[in-house]
């Protein structure tokens, strides 16, 4: 494979200080040699004109993005507009709806999932963690559609599929289905509110971890239960993680109760989670208190953002634009100065930012995967605050292009 030079790439170089305060970010124009999917050289000198080249036109290079919580198997995205129906019985309104809706959506499930993946690519993502309904209504059919859709994109992104018992692991008797899902393409065991949905915290958690151990996979559990109930569930989840020897392989999604903790109680909870290296995903909701992302980050809990929905029967809102989501995160926590803004990027890159706290370039380095994006901004902080458009995306050295061009034309 011949090497490719991506020329005129803007890389962050360091912070600019005024009176010991960070007031800006300095950048430099570099040229990157890409070989075998990796960054082989970073040079200030332009390559020979006979080399294979791609001009980045001084756009800013950033690590590509990860959506760590989405449901690509049940979306209206790509189909006709549909609002939500008014809620009459909380979450159970939506579960009831799924009995009719899921079979109706099934024939177009894979197509919609693919359109959603395309939306993610347009917005600079190279990793998607999707939850996928596994329930008595739809069985493993949504999983099949999800696996088929993602397989088509294996050359441009990585992914995880969480076997998600949306209607309750115990409540809907989905234990065997989840086991089957783990043999059919799911890579993580899911769960939802062991208390409110399953009505048996211990049995629910026990079963989730048992299935995970059987298949040597991690877990990612939806936990919306608030306050002390949510906190108790986190603690038990940490206990089970420890017992199963699964440190670093368990994720709390939503973790709404974390928003109800503060001060000592939050510090104690963070210590419990940190010990088991449990990470957290959040959608940065604006209609309820958002979990304290910056505090969790300071305590060393990895936090990742996800869109959850782009438009479905749960919510008509959603954009798939993670840079926008990071902007909302920054706005929510009043992170308005250069350093804070630039640091927010890590919540969508698995922790990577071009500069470390001391302002030294830690990304990209020679030897790193050439998985990255070019955005129209002069620095990370500007990209986040002003919602920079993603100009191009690279996965392991290859420029990512849409696979659906023809189909999209036919559909429109």
């Amino acid at each position: 494979m011949t090497a490719l030079w991506i020329t005129n790439v803007r890389l962050e170089k360091g912070f600019i200080y005024e009176n010991e305060q960070i007031t800006g970010t300095s950048t430099e124009i570099c040229h990157l040699k890409i070989e075998a999917g990796k960054i082989a050289e970073i040079s200030l000198l332009a390559p020979d004109s006979n080399e294979n080249q791609l001009d980045a036109k001084q756009k800013l290079l950033l690590p590509s993005l990860r959506d760590m919580h989405i449901h690509i198997d049940k979306t209206y995205y790509g189909g006709p507009w549909k609002a939500c129906t008014p809620i009459t019985n909380g979450i159970f309104t939506r579960l009831e709806e799924e009995k009719e809706l899921l079979p109706k959506l099934l024939p177009t499930a894979q197509e919609r999932a693919e359109k959603m993946i395309e939306l993610y690519l347009e917005n600079g993502h190279t990793h998607i963690r999707t939850h996928c309904n596994v329930d008595p209504v739809i069985g493993l059919k949504n999983l099949e559609a999800t696996v088929n859709a993602l397989k088509k994109y294996e050359d441009v992104l990585t992914y995880d599929i969480v076997a998600f018992p949306q209607h309750g692991l115990l409540r809907s008797g989905s234990v065997q289905l989840i086991r089957d899902a783990m043999k059919n393409g799911a890579t993580l065991v899911g769960g939802v509110d062991p208390a409110t949905v399953d009505r048996n915290i211990e049995k629910s958690l026990h079963t989730i971890f048992e299935i995970a151990a059987e298949h040597n996979k991690g877990v990612d559990i939806h936990l919306h239960d608030p306050n002390s109930l949510g906190a108790f569930t986190f603690e038990r989840m940490a206990d089970y993680t420890k017992e199963a020897g699964m440190a670093g392989r368990a994720t709390i999604s939503h973790g709404i109760a974390l928003a109800d903790l503060s001060g000592e109680a939050l510090a104690e909870m963070a210590a419990i989670l940190k010990e088991q290296e449990i990470d957290v995903t959040t959608t940065i909701p604006i209609n309820r208190t958002t979990i304290p992302v910056p505090a969790l980050d300071r305590y060393g809990i990895p936090v990742s953002v996800g869109h959850d929905s782009i438009t479905d029967h749960w919510s008509p809102f959603g954009t798939g634009n993670t840079i926008q989501k990071l902007g909302t995160l920054a706005e929510s926590f009043r992170m308005i100065d250069e350093y804070s803004l630039s640091s927010v990027l890590k919540f969508a890159t698995g922790g990577i930012t071009p500069l470390n706290k001391a302002g030294e370039r830690v990304w990209p380095k020679v030897g790193d995967d050439a998985t990255m994006m070019l955005v129209d901004a002069t620095c990370s902080a500007e990209a986040i605050a002003r919602r920079a458009p993603v100009e191009s995306l690279f996965f392991k050295g290859n420029k990512v292009e849409s696979k659906r061009t023809e189909l999209n034309i036919i559909n429109s």
Partner: protein
């Protein structure tokens, strides 16, 4: 543009449909609108044959929405058109104000250029009316007012505007009242004010001077009120009392009004009734870091609510898009408006009132005789537009395409 023309093939909402389960969808049909002297003078269904010698502009089947009103901005403060700059970390409001003061002179020479960029942005997102506040303070005097006024005048064939003389650094400081008077003679049309308690430290005198200025210049009023809780509520109460005394009905607005979301509901309701009696308005920027004034409660009581983007890309805030429709999307998300009619009716916050269908599903826009101010989007209905924030394909002001394109 010829004197009259037809805007053809635009999608208008014609009613709500209810299915057997009580779920609503929106009906639409294609129409042709005849526009003359900037007004809609005739509305015909798409089957109507337009005579060959009339001029036409093809609306390409896009959905038409009433254009938007940006009711709270600070055109003088934005960094737009200059290099990127984040906000300085500061300890408190005092330091933020000091930092702004330091920067004002540096920014003054580019006021017209920066304001123009903001106007372009707002226009491209569908606003054809802008109410901007402009600093009138001891540091900058009238310099920013001049630049902003010139910029707005440059666009006077594309939008309407109002300028509020805004005493950002306090009204009761030395020299400010004479400056405010000068501003009112130099292009400002509305008297502004700011936190009579928090900034001016004299609620009654601050409001009294605002009233004085407004009666002297026969001008409307729009005061910034960030003061929270009961001190904010008392300020609005006192303001209302003065409005009543001066018989300044339908001429006063309170911007931000976080306090209304911070007091017990019965008190907020009582105040809402009072605001309604006096025809006072509330302007909100739909913040996610402050308490929101209770928009639904105020609306139920008949108070006029308008939205704005506030100043952005400036020393106060690095976030923003200039998109009123996105503000409504955010409103919908905040208040969990997710069904067809709730989403569709929320559009009124962006338009300052008009919506294509009223709550009963009757066509209430566009009507013959109204100004032809429209935003065209690729969406199936208003509800979709509110939820999905589609791109603005074209913005039409008084019959003329002023942003985007239709060809």
């Amino acid at each position: 543009m010829p004197k009259s023309h037809w805007l053809t093939n635009i999608k208008l909402e014609t009613g709500y449909l209810k299915d057997e389960k009580g779920v609503y969808t929106t009906k639409t049909e294609l129409f042709h609108l005849k526009i003359e002297d900037g007004k809609v003078i005739e509305k015909q269904s798409s089957g109507y044959e337009i005579s060959k010698n009339e001029n036409t502009v093809d609306g390409r089947g896009f959905l038409a929405l009433p254009s938007f009103k940006e009711m709270h901005n600070h055109l003088d403060k934005t960094y737009l058109s200059l290099d990127w700059k984040a906000c300085r970390p500061v300890k408190n409001l005092e330091e933020r104000l000091r930092y702004e003061a330091m920067e004002l002179e540096e920014l003054a020479p580019t006021a017209r250029q920066r304001a123009s960029k903001m106007i372009e942005l707002l226009l491209s997102k569908g606003s054809t009316h802008i109410r901007t506040h402009v600093n009138i303070d001891p540091y900058i005097g009238l310099k920013n007012l001049e630049g902003v006024r010139e910029a707005l005048e440059d666009y006077s064939d594309k939008l309407t505007f109002e300028i509020v003389a805004f005493p950002q650094h306090g009204l009761l400081r030395e020299h400010v009242i004479p400056l405010m008077k000068e501003a009112m003679r130099s292009g400002a049309s509305i008297v502004g004010g700011l936190d009579p308690a928090g900034i001016d430290r004299n609620i009654e005198k601050s409001l009294y001077e605002v009233m004085n200025l407004s009666t002297e210049f026969d001008a409307d009023i729009d005061i910034h009120l960030h003061d929270g809780g009961h001190v904010g509520l008392y300020t609005i109460d006192k303001f209302a009392e003065m409005i009543e005394e001066a018989k300044w009905h339908n001429r006063a607005a309170v911007s931000h009004a976080f306090c209304l979301g911070e007091v017990p509901v019965p008190q907020a309701e009582e105040m809402a009734e009072r605001l309604n009696e006096l025809g006072m308005s509330v302007m909100s920027t739909i913040p996610i870091t402050k308490s929101l004034p209770p928009i639904e409660l105020l609306d139920r009581k008949g108070v006029n609510i308008y939205l704005g983007c506030d100043g952005f890309y400036d020393s106060w805030g690095p976030f923003g898009t200039g998109d009123l429709l996105e503000k409504v999307t955010r409103y919908g998300e905040l208040y969990r408006k997710s069904d067809e009619i709730s989403l569709a009716q929320s559009l009124k916050w962006a338009t300052g009132g008009p919506v294509p269908l009223n709550k009963d599903g009757e066509m209430s826009w566009p009507l013959e005789g109204e100004e032809a101010n429209l935003v065209l989007v690729d969406a199936s209905c208003s509800a979709e537009a509110v939820a999905r924030t589609p791109k603005r394909e074209a913005v039409i002001f008084r019959g003329k395409v002023v942003a985007g394109q239709l060809t």
